[in-house]
């Protein structure tokens, strides 16, 4: 009976806390399919080659409209990231021109990018971004993988607490990038807008960004690309890259968490037996 009460209380509390996650339901788009991510779960780590491919997709396709203002070139060489070398990062940064200044003469000037520079924005300001994109500002990509989500509904959102499903954002982005279709399923799509199965409301301002074969992937030893050059693969790779951009300390967090929890479990065990020993002196307790 006592155990039953504790379990009941646990279920009630978890249901209560999970209520918040239910918040944004209500649209009639299908749920994005779940993908297998190397960074999911308690021991998740990023696949460096996937991040490098995803970065290539971002750089060659997305970055022409989407800024990533919180990410610096140097981040690309940090541990737990795509694993570029410092030399590669310096060379990459130097291939961009960055506006700096004012100099001693009071003038703004252009110089080669450095590793410490932030990722350069495609547009000088929000107004320019809106003007170039039919009034819609392409969102910044720095934390987009955490800024997008979807509701899993009851009771899955409770299960997610235990299975550590946290990849709502990347699954949504992956689905969105593959969600374009010419068949609008009866949805009225105004000129200059596009139909997307997974976008809330189905009408999105972004044209289909990816096509098969658009981005060339590095070749393996056998001369074939290391991953298929398809929309499906591009979508996954760029989503993984965006997850890293949004949570560059993810690997460190999960590693630290494992050590912290292991330590705490041992400590709890020690305290449990100490408590048992101390309380064994008094009658009626165990």
């Amino acid at each position: 009976m006592k155990r039953f009460k504790v379990i009941a209380a646990a279920i009630l509390v978890s249901g209560f806390m999970g209520g918040a996650v239910l918040a944004d339901g209500g649209h009639d788009t299908p749920l994005p399919p779940k993908n297998d991510w190397t960074f999911a779960g308690p021991f998740g780590t990023f696949d460096k080659t996937q991040l490098q491919r995803g970065f290539k997709v971002y750089r060659e396709v997305c970055s022409s409209c989407h800024s990533m203002g919180l990410v610096s070139f140097r981040n690309l060489a940090q541990p737990g990231g795509p694993g570029f070398t410092e030399g590669q990062v310096k060379a990459l940064a130097a291939s961009y021109k960055v506006k700096d200044g004012p100099n001693d003469a009071g003038e703004m000037f252009e110089r080669d990018g450095r590793a410490a520079d932030r990722w350069p924005s495609p547009f000088p300001n929000k107004q320019a971004a809106a003007a170039a994109n039919g009034g819609a500002i392409p969102p910044d990509f720095s934390v987009i993988a955490k800024a997008r989500s979807y509701s899993r509904g009851f009771p899955l959102f409770l299960v997610d607490m235990f299975t550590q499903y946290q990849e709502h954002g990347v699954d949504y982005i992956t689905a969105l990038l593959q969600g374009y279709s010419d068949d609008t399923h009866g949805v009225e799509v105004p000129a200059g807008k596009y139909y997307n199965t997974f976008y809330p409301g189905n009408v999105i301002a972004m044209p289909k960004p990816l096509n098969d074969g658009q981005v060339e992937y590095p070749k393996g030893a056998d001369g074939r690309p290391q991953a298929p050059e398809t929309v499906a693969q591009y979508s996954k790779d760029v989503s993984a890259f965006l997850m890293w951009a949004a949570e560059p300390k993810l690997e460190q967090r999960k590693e630290t968490g494992f050590r912290v929890i292991l330590f705490l479990i041992v400590l709890a065990g020690l305290f449990y037996f100490t408590k048992k020993k101390i309380w064994s002196r008094v009658e009626g307790h165990h």
């Binding site: 009630l12 968490g257 494992f258």
Partner: protein, 425 residues
């Protein structure tokens, strides 16, 4: 704080100091030899857990404040800077954000325990009311803290909640202007919320000191709901309850760590990773999970002013609870009919929380009204009447009897252990 004050420091300096400031004696009498009911269960460990959470929130918060910039143009990015560029900044921030949720988990268990075992009843009314004040201060602190990252939910949550005060007749608009520091939620709002968010935890700390003081006058209530009478009913705080609290605390911190390290954004809202934009309203504006039941009560009432009054009333009514519950028996363990209504109350609160996350339309509104009605009926109708008509179970004569049964209560074991706490182990 009461307790035997026969403490004599071992060192000469200690004795010299103690004559001038008897603080070690106070700590000794309050947290070492203090006689606690021997039958406390694990629900009684949440007071210590809450004290730990308060200190944890203050420590992580003080360091976060060293890196945070309270300005509408900088706030969002300064939080991201903490996540990316500050050493272990991600850990500090996730500990602090999830710590707020853990604080509320613990406080809801703590309040629920008080409701079940009648801890609010005579002679602990002031202790209980101080607890209600702490709860209110916690809510204010958490609300303002959620505004600081200046995400979309921060901004729109602040807009919705501060606007509630405008419903108050006469003074409403003035209050809202003072809360905002202007005529809309903006930079002045963010600045004053940051200032208050830093101030309020220390006010909580002060009221917690009063709460502990008021606790140590009668001592803890216990699952049997009867007062301690003899030494046989109690055990010294140390080592019996220090070790029990320590074990429970570590288990709680494991739970806390699970969220912090593995699912740090589970309890948050994705929209708060979008920088605040006064021109774009999110599809659903939802408060943090711990406010949802009260949010549901607010929206259950069709009139804005009455809704606001119902929401604040749902917390204010707790102040009067010691006089609303007419039962002579304190503990729910001996009140079978009460137990049914109590668990319905808990389930009702959880359903309210679920409804608070739903859009205010159709069946959700009707359900919210029914649940709001039960919430208030529990305090205003059920508890006053139930105490008069219910048939309670026989209450044990003493705490020792509750633990050992009528035959064993003559044993001097507890008293023996009390007199020699360091004799073993």
């Amino acid at each position: 704080m009461s307790g035997h004050s026969n403490y004599v420091p071992k060192s000469a300096f200690g004795r010299w100091f103690e004559r001038r400031l008897p603080i070690m004696g106070l700590i000794h009498s309050s947290f070492v030899v203090f006689p606690n009911p021997r039958n406390l269960n694990y629900y009684w460990t949440f007071g210590g857990i809450l004290a730990f959470m308060l200190v944890s929130q203050i420590l992580t918060g003080v360091v976060l404040a060293m890196h945070y910039a309270a300005n509408v143009d900088l706030a969002f990015n300064s939080v991201e800077q903490i996540m990316r560029d500050v050493n272990y900044g991600w850990m500090l921030r996730y500990l602090h954000a999830n710590g707020a949720s853990m604080f509320f988990v613990a406080v809801y268990v703590h309040i629920g325990r008080g409701l079940y075992y009648g801890s609010y009843k005579e002679p602990r009314e002031v202790l209980w009311i101080l607890g209600v004040i702490i709860f209110l201060l916690m809510m204010a602190t958490a609300f303002m803290g959620y505004v600081l990252p200046w995400g979309q939910m921060s901004f729109w949550g602040a807009t919705v909640i501060t606007n509630l005060f405008s419903a108050l007749p006469g003074v409403g608009e003035t209050i809202v202007t003072y809360l905002w520091g202007g005529y809309s939620v903006g930079n002045s709002t963010l600045n004053r919320f940051f200032s208050l968010h830093y101030l309020l935890p220390f006010m909580i700390f002060g009221v917690v000191a009063l709460h502990v003081w008021a606790l140590h006058v009668p001592g803890s209530n216990n699952p049997a709901g009867i007062e301690k009478k003899t030494d046989k009913d109690t055990l010294p705080f140390h080592p019996y309850f220090t070790i029990k609290d320590a074990f429970a605390l570590v288990c709680f911190v494991i739970f806390f760590s699970w969220f912090t390290f593995y699912i740090p954004n589970y309890l948050g809202h994705a929209d708060n990773y979008i920088e605040a934009n006064p021109a774009v309203t999110p599809a659903h504006i939802v408060p943090e999970w711990y406010f949802l039941p009260f949010y549901a009560i607010l929206r259950a009432v069709p009139d804005k002013l009455l809704g606001v009054l119902a929401m604040f009333g749902s917390i204010a009514i707790l102040v009067f609870l010691p006089w609303l519950d007419t039962s002579k028996v304190r503990s729910g363990a001996y009140r079978p009919a009460f137990r049914v209504f109590f668990w319905m109350f808990i389930a009702n609160a959880i359903v309210l929380g679920w409804l608070g996350a739903k859009p205010p339309e159709g069946l959700y509104v009707i359900a919210s009204r029914l649940c709001t009605a039960y919430y208030f009926a529990y305090f205003i109708v059920i508890l006053p009447l139930l105490g008069k008509i219910e048939r309670t179970l026989p209450v044990p004569a003493s705490i020792a009897e509750a633990v050992l049964g009528p035959s064993g209560s003559g044993s001097a074991m507890a008293a023996g252990a009390a007199s020699s706490p360091n004799s073993q182990g």
